[in-house]
């Protein structure tokens, strides 16, 4: 076979493979992804049974333990609203009031408290934040 034709075939094969990979990636991202919402967005968009990733900061004074469950409120970084969360599972060491968290939640069919999926709570590492003024 003509070498230039051979090279063209290889290029087409490589581009086809790349296109297939990219298509699969885009499809997976959109189909398997979950909406990451702030507290304000969650309050307006949440539907019972559907799960969302709630992002925000833990409201000061809202953290308490009830049996195995950890209760806290997640505050919207821009709006003055917060949502209550009841969570069970691993609590990361850096978790505390005022810290940025991500937790997968769903709205129960009854009650107003969002339920956090077990072991879905992650806390941003506080040490890596831009240091605010130290309190003494």
């Amino acid at each position: 076979m003509d070498p230039s034709r051979k090279r063209a075939i290889r290029l087409v094969a490589a581009l086809t493979a790349a296109l297939l990979l990219a298509s699969a990636l885009v499809y997976t991202s959109f189909s398997a992804g979950r909406d990451e919402l702030t507290a304000g967005q969650l309050l307006t968009r949440a539907r019972p049974g559907q799960s969302y990733i709630l992002a925000g900061t833990v409201l000061t004074g809202s953290v308490r333990h009830v049996g195995d469950a950890l209760m806290f409120r997640v505050r919207d970084p821009k709006l003055r609203v917060s949502v209550p969360v009841r969570y069970t599972g691993i609590v990361p060491d850096p978790f505390r009031a005022g810290r940025g968290v991500l937790v997968t939640v769903h709205e129960p069919s009854t009650g107003t408290q969002f339920v956090g999926e077990q072991d879905s709570l992650t806390t941003k590492c506080p040490s890596k934040y831009q240091a605010t003024s130290a309190s003494y």
Partner: protein, 751 residues
């Protein structure tokens, strides 16, 4: 010393601007004295930044709280070891570290190449100084590590407890070394593109730095993984977190580059590809720093809201647009000198391996940035999380491992049936046999990807072992050396090649560990009272007794666990959770000791076949009543005592408060002791993870191989290689006959 530090930062900035300008002028005008002056400016910058760094370290060691950064990230009780590491826990210190390391590496490469690549070096110097200007400006004007306060606090906030880990001393500097070293090949690639000198000369001078960047970044990534493995809430050794991915992407791109440059060196092929990979690796290194600094993506490791995002975006845009523009401008000079002759050749395997690595980078990039992409497209952030990586990364990793075994065995240019039989028979048969043994013994049942990874890993190890065996045998035949000496001499005389083979073996071992630990992990959440037990993967874990300690630094609550299997004692584990005193007065005078920063101490028994990992989550709510009573009692007594003390001279004031502090400490100790005297159920996370140790062993093997490949070859061997290397610009040598080599030829090639 802070004013000296601030002056040095500005001086460094001036020197960097001068160095860039002098080098550019020298390069364009051909005036050597300006080029030399530009190079000396780099040495001067290294000196200035070294002094600045020493001043910052000294401020941390002296606990000089007039430095804002020291007050925010250290304290008098911070151990000296961690005071040394504290500068890079801050944004300000990290930026200074970036410029300092960059100036050191830049000085080293420019000193080593002062008599080589004379046309390219001035432009490379200008690019390196451009980076120094960027990061120096950020340190000088946006996050100054030498900023001070007029009224220093008596005590600092201290280093975050999570960072009180030995890895803090090595992990960040390794990553930063990797990132800054990536700038060196990037700068030389830009220099080569600007001057149009696109032979493999620029590669040969910067190759060692690319390899060093790859090695440092790899060590940094593995140290981070090891650290994460022992922290609760960091997702185990790998969580596909944006910051972890940010370090992995340039490492993968540079892995592709250090393989594909061999094709350019040997065959003059893939010039566009190589220069693009180097530019991409450099850009991804800056992207990594950007992800850590900007807080643009939600990460458990990322900086929060920072103002540095915009400057980084501008720098990245300049690098990407400039890089693409230069490659397009020089596309004619980047044409390959040869073409791929066969898909069954080492060049084709290297190219396929490169494509797989780049595909991995693309997948990681896409999924990492997908929340931003989706927000831009739909207005809503969509997260896909770790499960989205696996369907793509696992098959790509399997192909990569297979190729890392095929690469060392297959011939350049075109393979023959004889080559296939001679080189592949033993590793293929061995790997298939191991696969069958695993199937028969039921080890790979239900986990097809793990089984394939074990098989491919075995293939790589057998292939590498065969290469060492044959090389040593050939050397023994030629020089009549004893086997150990022949092996040492074999490696010593061709460090790049055999170092590379060791890296391949290490990666195979590492990925076998990853496949086993991620596929066959057993975990259990259990709530236990003292004396109760639970089972996980055949192990019986009994909660023996609670433990609690109260020191000036922290309160610690934990448990002693007994692990047994089949009635036989296996190990005793201790796990605890420490609480560091909070400075928040709203928590109360007693409560602030129980509600401060927490740090889990993992109970770990690591072994060759499995790790037993446990962590306790002590629920302190039964102590809440006592803590509240203590808050009320001491909350009432403290203001009166403080008012009385305020009217006394300092020494007497301290003496008058001492009994109250003593009472408070007794109360805290008494409350903490109830965890032991009145134990209640506490929850544990128990994990049995097979072959995790092999991840760390594999990483050590990779590091050893990388160091061997990086180490300069002996003078004699270098001279011998120089004689055999083709003259640049000469016509390529005719292809050797693709038949089975004679024993002497094979021996020569091997040794």
């Amino acid at each position: 010393m802070a004013p000296v530090g601030r002056t040095l930062l500005v001086l460094g900035l001036v020197v960097a601007v001068y160095g860039a300008g002098a080098s550019l002028y020298g390069g364009r005008s051909g005036r050597e004295e300006w080029v030399v002056s530009g190079r000396r400016a780099v040495y001067a910058l290294a000196l200035v930044m070294t002094v600045a760094w020493v001043i910052l370290e000294a401020a941390f060691l002296r606990s000089d709280f007039s430095f804002n950064v020291v007050a925010a990230h250290s304290s008098t009780t911070t151990p000296t070891f961690y005071k040394l590491a504290a500068p890079w826990s801050s944004q300000e210190g990290s930026l200074l570290l970036w410029v300092w390391l960059l100036s050191l590496w830049s000085s080293l490469i420019l000193f080593l190449t002062r008599k080589r690549v004379r046309e390219i070096a001035p432009y490379a110097t200008a690019v390196l100084m451009g980076f120094a200007v960027f990061f120096g400006s950020l340190a000088a004007f946006f996050a100054n590590p030498f900023a001070t306060t007029a009224s220093p606090p008596p005590e600092g906030a201290g280093l975050d407890p999570l960072l009180l880990h030995p890895s803090m001393m090595i992990h960040p500097p390794m990553l930063y070394s990797g990132y800054t070293l990536m700038a060196v090949p990037f700068a030389f690639a830009v220099g080569a593109l600007i001057t149009g000198r696109l032979t493999s000369e620029w590669i040969s001078v910067s190759r060692r730095f690319a390899l060093a960047a790859w090695l440092f970044l790899g060590i940094g990534v593995v140290l981070g993984a090891r650290w994460s493995y022992t922290e609760l809430g960091w997702g185990g050794y790998w969580a596909w977190d944006p910051v972890e991915n940010a370090a992995l992407m340039p490492w993968l791109a540079s892995t592709a580059f250090i393989h594909s440059i061999m094709i350019q060196e040997k065959r003059g092929m893939l010039k566009v590809w190589n220069v693009s990979l180097v530019l991409a690796s450099g850009t991804l290194a800056i992207l990594g720093t950007f992800l850590v600094r900007s807080g643009v993506l939600d990460s458990i490791h990322a900086f929060g809201a920072s103002t540095l995002g915009v400057p980084f975006v501008l720098l990245l845009a300049t690098m990407i647009i400039g890089g693409i523009g230069l490659v397009l401008w020089r596309r004619e000079r980047l044409r390959s000198e040869a073409h791929l002759e066969s898909l069954l050749s080492r060049e084709a395997v290297f190219l396929l391996q490169n494509l797989v690595l780049v595909a991995m980078v693309f997948v990681i990039f896409w999924i990492t940035f997908f929340p931003l992409i989706s927000e831009a497209l739909t207005g809503t952030k969509v997260s896909v999380g770790p499960p989205a990586f696996r369907p793509f990364i696992v098959p790509l990793a399997l192909v990569l491992v297979a190729l890392s075994g095929i690469g060392p065995l297959i011939a350049w240019r075109r393979v023959t049936a004889a080559n296939l039989r001679r080189n592949f028979a033993f590793p293929v048969v061995g790997a298939v046999a191991i696969c069958l043994v695993l199937l028969v013994t039921g080890q790979g049942t239900g986990r097809p990807f793990a089984l394939v990874m074990f098989t491919f890993g075995a293939f790589v190890l057998l292939a590498v072992g065969q290469e060492f065996w044959r090389g040593t045998g050939a050397r023994m035949a030629m020089s009549r050396e004893a086997p150990p000496l022949a092996l040492v001499q074999l490696i010593r005389r061709n460090r790049r090649r055999y170092g590379g083979y060791i890296v391949h073996a290490g990666v195979a071992v590492l990925l076998i560990g990853v496949a086993a630990s991620s596929s066959f992990q057993h975990s259990r959440d259990a709530v236990l009272r003292p004396g109760q037990s639970t089972r996980v993967d055949g192990y019986t874990v009994r909660y023996v007794r609670p433990i609690a300690t109260a020191t000036a630094q922290k309160l610690s609550f934990g448990a002693v666990l007994d692990v047994s299997k089949g009635g036989k004692h296996v190990t005793t584990l201790r796990t605890s959770r420490g609480f560091y005193p909070s400075q928040d007065p709203s928590l109360g005078p007693i409560g602030r000791f129980f509600d401060g920063e927490a740090d889990s101490n993992v109970g770990l028994q690591a072994g060759a076949t499995r790790d037993i990992w446990t962590v306790v989550n002590p629920d302190l709510s039964p102590l809440r009543g006592l803590i509240n009573r203590g808050n009320a009692l001491f909350g009432a007594a403290l203001p009166k005592a403080m008012t009385r003390a305020a009217s006394l001279p300092p020494a007497q004031a301290q003496a008058s408060l001492a009994p109250l502090w003593q009472l408070r400490d007794q109360a805290i100790s008494g409350i903490a002791t109830r965890f032991i005297t009145h134990p209640w159920p506490v929850s544990f996370l128990l994990i049995v993870d097979p072959l995790v140790s092999w991840i760390w062993i594999g990483a050590i093997i990779v590091a050893i191989g990388g160091l061997l490949a990086l180490w300069p070859i002996p003078r004699l061997a270098r001279r011998r290689r120089a004689v055999t290397l083709p003259v640049p610009g000469a016509a390529p040598a005719p292809a050797p006959a693709a038949s089975a080599p004679s024993p002497v030829t094979a021996a020569r090639e091997l040794v």
